[in-house]
């Protein structure tokens, strides 16, 4: 029962917050892309972090993988699946090793493109370091990567029947907007 509650709490935290925060997040650091808990249908990821004060950041990207009983690792396909994985069987595989970014101005952007990304769940970790090199703030974001072929077509709210749409267009043509 405890495990189920723990799993539910983890899933709710992942779904409700835009970012999963282990420590207080840095008010001067915003992850612009990828958006927390978003799903992208792509084989590359753009990382864009906005920094509005003098900071030293360490930025790392991991893929969250499940350790199977036979010792192999497998990718996860949803945040729900991630929530059900116990801490002992979760592995953080480094995709982009930690990079240090120095921000000296009022505004700067850390940008990086990760190419050749396979479907799975990825975690972006942004650590703010103090003058002694110790962690001051920690911010983590999850993004689900799906194959581009699975992207669903856009739906437009004003999908109407042909007759209704024709009438609307006809009236607009007569009376203008």
């Amino acid at each position: 029962m405890k495990k189920v509650i723990m799993a539910l709490v983890l899933v709710l935290t992942l779904l409700c917050g835009s970012c999963f925060v282990c420590a207080a997040s840095d008010p001067a650091v915003t992850v612009v892309n990828p958006q927390g808990n978003s799903t992208v249908y792509a084989d590359n990821i753009l990382i864009s972090v906005k920094v509005t004060a003098t900071r030293v950041l360490k930025i790392t990207v991991f893929e969250e993988k499940l350790l199977n009983e036979d010792g192999s690792l497998s990718s996860l396909d949803s945040l729900e699946a991630l929530g059900q994985v116990t801490a002992g069987s979760l592995r953080h595989v480094v995709v982009s090793p930690a990079e240090t970014f120095y921000s000296n101005g009022n505004l700067s952007f850390y940008t990086k493109e990760l190419k050749g990304i396979t479907p799975g769940i990825y975690k972006l970790r942004v650590t703010t370091l103090d003058e002694n090199g110790r962690t001051q703030y920690l911010q983590e974001c999850y993004v689900v990567v799906r194959p581009p072929s699975e992207a669903k077509a856009l739906s437009f709210q004003s999908e109407q029947s042909g007759v209704l749409s024709f009438l609307q267009s006809f009236l607009k043509n007569i009376f203008g907007n």
Binding site: P27, A28, V32, N33, V40, Y41, A42, D43, N44, I45, L46, S48, K50, T52, A53, G105, N106, L107, S108, F109, T111, E113, P148, A151, A153, L154, F156, S158, Q160, G162, S165, F166, Q168, S169, K172, N173, G176, N177
Partner: protein, 488 residues
């Protein structure tokens, strides 16, 4: 008897030849016209040929491709290949039947490039009705859309074509009775070539802008000395040009030399003026008269403007310069209750846009059939050394915007940006940076004339924000000027 007749005939022929020789000698000697300034185009009647066609100068500024897996690129479409493919597909899609247009939100429109997509982006708002008429497209069902600034196709809604009207800020989805065929082939054609990955300003900055930017960019563009087209013209050449403008009235034209080096030819009291400025530019102005006539259709006015350029100064492409002319801006103007158009032309060198630095290179204002203003300041000189053999890494365009946004904000708003709140205090929803990023139209490498470097063409990043071009050195990121697109 017959011998005497032959002699008479020979005399007649000699008289005719001598008469014609006299006229030719008078033309060259009396008028002091040198062979250098003699141009066939100057003695041909106006509009006898259209080597510059309205259709050819009406091209998108860039074509943005999205390959659906996060890969986006922007192509200047130098040879117009993709534009012609797009037009073929668009003409087939519109057919002769009814088109339905429904308005969609800007957010939905920006989402379209998340899928495989192709978007043709103009630098100005093109009147849709005239465009459809000129291209033989039925615009039934499109009467509610005044202009088109972007048109595109996205696999996110494969049965539709999308339009953006920049003047009204509205986005539309078009649905035809016919299937959307041929668009995917354009995307595939671009995908097969080499391309540089760009990212949307929406992803990079979280801004509601459709601009796309490269993260890393390398270039072979090099600074090259360059004078103005008329910078080295002597008095005789200027006089010959003035005669073309004033024609029969030239005898009544006053010649005024200004201390700053400008030379003005004036007819009447400011009725017609032709100014040769010290910077090598030429400006012709004519008072609007009542004979201009009613405003003509956009494309008719554009063709008249192009004919005027050809007849008064000519176009150098015929001299092997390979400069491409495109409309960069076009908008309606009004004076004395008469309506007309102002056309701003952009010049490209193998797809690299050239900029005047402190003004536009070529502009024409036209009311009815009367051209009331014409400014010409084209580059001259040896443009062969404008590229280096090796590529150099350009300054980060993301860095330019994050460092240069306060100056851009101040230039556009006329006030200093609000101070950044102290640490710990909440930042406003839309700060100065967000304001600038949301108005970013594009960022392109180009060659800009820098007056402070004796007019040499300098490789630059050109950031277009809110219809104003901001220039930064391509390699060092140093800011060196800004010009609103609507400036003379």
């Amino acid at each position: 008897m017959s011998r005497a007749r032959n002699i008479e005939a020979l005399k007649n022929i000699l008289i005719v030849v001598l008469f014609l020789t006299t006229i030719l000698l008078l033309y060259f000697l009396w008028e002091n016209v040198t062979m250098k300034t003699f141009r066939l185009s100057s003695i041909l009647p106006a509009g006898s040929s259209h080597s510059l066609r309205a259709e050819d100068v009406t091209r998108p500024e860039e074509i943005v491709f999205s390959f659906g897996a996060g890969g986006v690129t922007a192509d200047p479409d130098v040879d117009g290949r993709y534009w012609e493919l797009w037009m073929n597909a668009f003409q087939k899609y519109c057919g002769r039947g009814e088109l339905l247009a429904e308005e969609i939100s800007r957010a939905q429109f920006l989402q379209l490039t998340d899928y495989r997509a192709v978007f043709c982006r103009f630098a100005y708002d093109l009147p849709l009705e005239s465009f459809c008429q000129q291209r033989g497209i039925s615009n039934r069902g499109l009467n509610q859309i005044a202009c088109v600034t972007e048109m595109g196709y996205s696999a996110g809604s494969p049965e539709s074509v999308f339009l953006y009207d920049g003047r009204s800020g509205r986005c539309y989805r078009l649905v035809s009775e016919l299937p959307a065929e041929g668009f995917e082939e354009i995307i595939r054609a671009a995908e097969q070539g080499e391309y540089l990955v760009y990212y949307g300003a929406a992803s990079l900055f979280g801004a509601e802008s459709s601009a796309v930017l490269p993260l890393n960019y390398s270039s072979t563009l090099a600074e090259t000395p360059c004078g103005a087209e008329l910078g080295g013209a002597d008095d005789a050449e200027r006089k010959a040009i003035a005669e073309q403008f004033f024609g029969a009235d030239f005898g009544f034209v006053r010649r005024i030399e200004e201390s700053q080096g400008s030379l003005i030819y004036m007819y009447g009291y400011d009725q017609k003026t032709l100014t040769f400025a010290a910077d090598g530019s030429m400006v012709y102005r004519e008072a609007l008269n009542g004979e201009a006539g009613a405003r003509r259709d956009y494309f008719e006015a554009l063709q008249d403007a192009l004919d005027f350029i050809e007849n008064y100064g000519g176009w150098r492409e015929e001299q092997g310069r390979h400069l491409q002319l495109r409309v960069r801006d076009a908008y309606e103007i009004e004076s004395d209750r008469q309506k007309g158009y102002r056309f701003v032309f952009g010049v490209g060198l193998e797809g690299v846009p050239l900029y005047g630095g402190d003004g536009n290179l070529l502009t024409v204002e036209i009311y009815g059939r009367q051209v009331t203003a014409y400014r010409r300041c084209l580059p001259d000189g040896d443009l062969e050394k404008w590229k280096e053999d090796r590529e150099k890494e350009a300054f980060s365009v993301v860095g330019l915007l994050s460092e240069g946004y306060p100056a851009i904000y101040e230039a556009l708003r006329g006030e200093a940006p609000p101070p950044v709140p102290p640490e710990g205090e909440e930042a406003p929803q839309e700060g100065a940076f967000e304001w600038v990023a949301a108005r970013l139209q594009n960022a392109r490498p180009g060659l800009v004339r820098d007056a402070e470097r004796e007019g040499s063409l300098r490789p630059a990043w050109v950031l277009c924000v809110d219809d104003c071009d901001f220039f930064y050195d391509l390699y060092s990121g140093e800011a060196f000027g800004a010009v609103p697109r609507q400036k003379d």
